[in-house]
């Protein structure tokens, strides 16, 4: 609750600071705000409390995911250097929108009522529609915003229809009441309930870009300015998956049989489409978009497993995925700026010689994304897979996932090969701010640290 209030206030302060001429203090100020929120959030640890007639509950689950999302925002903001140098007029608006949208993300991990889920999703989405189109004069950014907006609004309608059908069947918007009604009716109240559940699953699958509702993702990710793509593929996705798990665990645990087949189909499809789609891409940013689809698949696997290990493995996977993704997008941002907006693999040629730091950070990130040992990503996948194999019938799912992870290594290492094996087309060294390089080193060290001592995070929940 404190973090929601603080973020709203800080966002407004940021707007006011934007009126003043001193754009330079915006970034340090926003980082300070986020650090304060991160600290304040930790005070709620182990003090589960329900606020305002059970509208939201801040329990350890909410605190942990809030922490990860605030941390992710904190880590990706330093790479907005480019906007500061360009003396972008609207920097304050961007930062405020990011802070405000975090409020939506926090609502999505702590809601107890469907209304809170809905408003949380909308706060996050509407801010993202704007940020996707924030590069107003670039046609691709416009298209990304338009496509994201039309599709998002459509699937919001679907999600709402689902919520209403469930309200019709159970007579409540509260997760606990829905669970209670479902429990006395063997998990399926009537056909209306089942249909509502299906529509809900579709609506949220869209938000986390799970196949077959992922079709918007490559375009939108590619067209959106890289900084916000990074936010989109980390915070928005983590919030979506966390909300999904909370929804299933708190309201529809008794209806497991009703949603399990749908969800497992979505998961397998997401894994296959995401990884195969990523292989054929030549554009690095599009590849990352497909890779984020595939990671939604791994996260959904933990949800499908649906046992006591699910939440912890989703948490660890989200963190490792967020760290690696932030680095990947940050390096991409520097490289493509140097190469006049070139976002293909070729842009990375020879980066290992000109910028060893960028290349090394990128290599660690790619290893982490593909799940190579000694990085956080390895344990992320390991925890998800062990959660799944608890149920012996799901063994085949793990086999599929391992195969797909092997495919993943192929396309993640394309860029590593380009960096170290190819001659540089442009020998100029890419200039990075000292703070940004410090952040890159920090994230890289953090990734390796989690790869050696995963217990730091994995035992939290």
């Amino acid at each position: 609750m404190t973090s929601i209030i603080l973020l709203s206030i800080f966002g407004i302060i940021n707007l006011f600071v934007g009126f003043m001429k001193s754009k330079r203090i915006l970034l340090p100020l926003s980082l300070l705000f986020l650090a304060v929120v991160f600290g304040a959030n930790l005070f709620s640890w182990n003090e589960a409390q329900s606020y305002f007639n059970h509208m939201l509950t801040i329990d350890n689950y909410a605190v942990a995911f809030t922490g990860i999302m605030v941390l992710a925002t904190l880590l990706l903001l330093p790479f907005s250097q480019h906007y500061i140098e360009e003396a972008n007029e609207n920097l304050a608006e961007f930062y405020s929108l990011l802070l405000f949208s975090l409020v939506g993300a926090i609502m999505m991990v702590s809601y107890e009522n469907m209304l809170m889920l809905f408003i949380g999703i909308e706060i996050l989405s509407i801010a993202m529609y704007v940020l996707a189109g924030s590069d107003k004069r670039r046609l691709r950014s416009n298209e990304a915003a338009l496509k994201y907006f039309l599709m998002g609004a459509f699937f919001t309608g679907v999600l709402l229809f689902g919520i209403v059908l469930i309200y019709g069947a159970t007579g409540s918007f509260y997760l606990t009441d829905i669970a209670a009604t479902a429990a006395v009716n063997d998990g399926t109240v009537n056909a209306m309930f089942t249909l509502g559940l299906l529509l809900l699953v579709i609506g949220i699958s869209f938000k986390i870009s799970a196949a077959p509702f992922h079709f918007w993702a490559p375009d939108v990710y590619e067209g959106t300015p890289t900084l916000f793509t990074s936010y989109m593929s980390t915070v928005v996705k983590i919030a979506g998956v966390a909300a999904f798990y909370k929804l299933m665990a708190a309201a529809f645990a008794a209806s497991y049989a009703a949603w399990f087949p749908t969800l497992i189909a979505i998961t397998v499809l997401t894994l296959v489409v995401g990884n195969i789609g990523a292989v054929v891409q030549t554009n690095f940013k599009r590849m990352l978009a497909y890779s984020s689809v595939s990671h939604a698949g791994y996260l959904l696997m933990a949800l499908v497993a649906f046992n006591e290990r699910s939440d912890a493995s989703i948490l660890f996977y989200s963190l490792s995925y967020a760290l690696a993704t932030i680095v990947a997008f940050a390096v991409l941002q520097y490289v493509s700026e140097q190469r006049n907006g070139d976002e293909t693999y070729a842009a990375f040629n020879g980066l290992g010689k000109t910028n060893p730091l960028l290349a090394f950070a990128m290599t660690v990130a790619m290893c982490s994304l593909s799940g190579i040992p000694l990085t956080a990503g390895f344990f992320g996948k390991l925890f998800v897979f062990t959660a799944v194999v608890q149920d012996a019938r799901l063994m085949w799912l793990v086999v599929v996932a391992v195969l797909m992870a092997a495919v993943g290594i192929y396309y993640y290492f394309k860029v590593v090969i380009a960096m170290y094996m190819q001659p540089a087309a442009d020998a100029a060294k890419i200039r990075i701010g000292s703070f940004a390089s410090f952040m890159l080193i920090f994230i890289t060290v953090f990734t390796i640290l989690l790869g050696i001592a995963p217990a730091l995070v994995s035992d939290l929940l």
């Binding site: 509208m55 704007v130 056909a191």
Partner: protein, 170 residues
């Protein structure tokens, strides 16, 4: 029966909205649909919702949409007209959804819902109006979403102001 009148009107004009090629006509038929829905709200004794529907949808959303049409098309020009695409696939997919939904409704056995049997309280209370009860709800149970909805509107305000302004490049 007023319900049937409004319902028919709403569905017909909604269908016309989807089928017509002229953007302006589509806008106006959306107006008819929204008004009919507002009429049905009145029949449902949901006076607050009915008034909000008139103010927000008819007064706000629709006017904005008409503005959007005017700003982005030259009326009297071919650009007001727009074709349909993917007709076959669209109809097939939607047909499936329609069959699924209808099947569900037919099987849902709505009147057997336990709460429907038990419902017996007066919708209107003593005041013969839902405004007071909605207001009390908003300020008690739903106060958090209410406040956060204001945040949402702030985001929309900032966003729309940013997106829609067109400053020449300096």
């Amino acid at each position: 029966m007023l319900f049937y009148l409004f319902a028919t009107l709403a569905i017909l004009s909604a269908a016309y909205m989807v089928l017509t090629r002229n953007l302006l006509y589509a806008g106006f038929s959306l107006l008819v649909t929204l008004l009919s829905v507002a009429g049905i709200y009145v029949l449902l004794y949901a006076d607050f919702v009915a008034v909000t529907q008139l103010m927000v949808y008819v007064g706000g959303v629709l006017v904005l949409i008409l503005f959007g049409i005017m700003l982005s098309s030259r009326v009297h020009d071919k650009s007001v007209l727009s074709e349909s695409v993917n007709k076959v696939w669209g109809v097939v997919v939607t047909g499936f959804i329609l069959v699924g939904l209808s099947y569900t409704i037919l099987n849902a056995n709505i009147s057997a819902l336990p709460w429907l049997q038990a419902a017996g309280t007066d919708v209107l209370g003593q005041q013969k109006s839902t405004v007071q009860r909605v207001g009390i709800k908003l300020m008690t149970d739903f106060v958090v979403p209410f406040e956060l909805a204001s945040l949402l509107l702030l985001i929309a305000l900032i966003g729309a102001a940013y997106i829609a302004t067109d400053k020449p490049k300096v």
